[in-house]
């Protein structure tokens, strides 16, 4: 490490909350977020792709069974909620669930591990959980938002979409009010979707960092229950992101 003396508590926390950023202002890229999420995506989806290629219809091995369980769970959720006609949605839901789960699971790594490894390569900061970076969660939720808009256009046509925006829920006479409600609702969805995931992961990471400041004999007592609880939060947040994506898309495809 480059400090000659041990860092103070605030410096330690600040160091762990800083991204490895390249560039300035709007054009700053959080390289740790981009590289970690891309790497995890390659590993996880590469594995699933290889499993799919070598899938047997006989007795499956453990890895194939695991992948099948995940795919069936996602398929069941999509079938329950989505009644439209889209070849995109189930793979999208699967991608979201598996990717967000893998990214969130990186929060289980020791807090100091990633910065230590990064400093071996001369990099000052490295945040290993991309979903603690609001850039990443907003990227995902804005993608879902645009997919919903495209879905609306695809399922209802521009005329039908405009008609629905102006007449639901109060009737054609109150078109401006309908439009305002519609715009507010459509803005609240991606913002809440992304900030929900971000807030959960950021708070979880923050508690891990604070536990890291404790003396070593206290760390296990606090850290173990929090880590166990965090396993639930990780899975739940990935699941909820996926379910809400499916529900928002199904709202885009249904018409009254």
């Amino acid at each position: 490490m480059s400090e000659s003396a041990a860092p103070t508590a605030t410096e330690y926390i600040q160091h762990h909350l800083t991204n490895f950023t390249v560039g300035q202002g709007f054009w700053s890229f959080n390289l740790d977020t981009l590289i970690t999420s891309a790497f995890l995506g390659l590993v996880i989806f590469g594995t699933m792709f290889l499993v799919a290629r070598r899938a047997t219809s006989g007795v499956p091995g453990k890895l194939q069974s695991l992948v099948e369980v995940v795919i069936e769970m996602v398929q069941e959720q999509v079938n329950d909620s989505f009644h439209g006609d889209s070849k995109l949605l189930a793979p999208l839901a699967l991608t979201i669930f598996v990717w967000v789960f893998a990214i969130n699971a990186m929060d289980m790594l020791p807090v100091d591990l990633a910065p230590m490894v990064a400093s071996l390569f001369g990099i000052e900061h490295w945040k290993v959980v991309p979903t603690t970076d609001p850039n990443h969660t907003f990227a995902m939720s804005l993608t879902v938002f645009f997919l919903c808009i495209f879905g609306n256009f695809a399922a209802k046509g521009p005329g039908g979409y405009a008609k629905e925006a102006l007449t639901v829920p109060f009737g054609p006479a109150m078109a401006p009010a309908n439009l305002i409600f519609r715009i507010l609702e459509d803005l609240a969805k991606p913002i809440s979707l992304s900030l929900r995931l971000f807030g959960n992961m950021y708070a979880g990471e923050m508690v891990f960092i604070l536990i890291g400041l404790m003396p070593f004999y206290i760390q296990w007592i606090l850290g173990a229950p929090w880590a166990i609880f965090h396993i639930l939060v990780i899975t739940l947040q990935a699941f909820i992101f996926m379910i809400l994506t499916v529900i928002y898309m199904s709202m885009a495809y249904e018409s009254h």
Partner: protein, 85 residues
């Protein structure tokens, strides 16, 4: 500066406290209704449980956003950055 620090401390307390209050009430109602529904129709328990977790995620959302903002205020307070710069 001290005034801003003091107000920030109070703001953090209110953010976390009210978020916790709302979430606790919400989860209490949610869990209670789930148990009632499960007692009336035990065969629906798996479906109801899944839907309960979905609503639980929605309940958590805004209080988590509050906790996130509170942590931000506590550890890298942007209001102090405004004062300094």
């Amino acid at each position: 500066m001290e005034h801003v620090l003091g107000m920030t401390a109070i703001a953090v307390a209110i953010l976390i406290g009210f978020g916790a209050l709302g979430t606790a009430l919400g989860f209490g109602l949610l869990g209670g209704r789930f148990l009632e529904g499960a007692a009336r129709q035990p065969e629906l328990i798996p479906q109801l449980q899944v839907k309960m977790f979905i609503v639980a995620g929605l309940l958590d959302a805004v209080s988590m956003i509050g906790v996130g903002i509170a942590m931000l205020l506590l550890f890298s307070n942007p209001l102090i950055t405004v004062l300094k710069g």
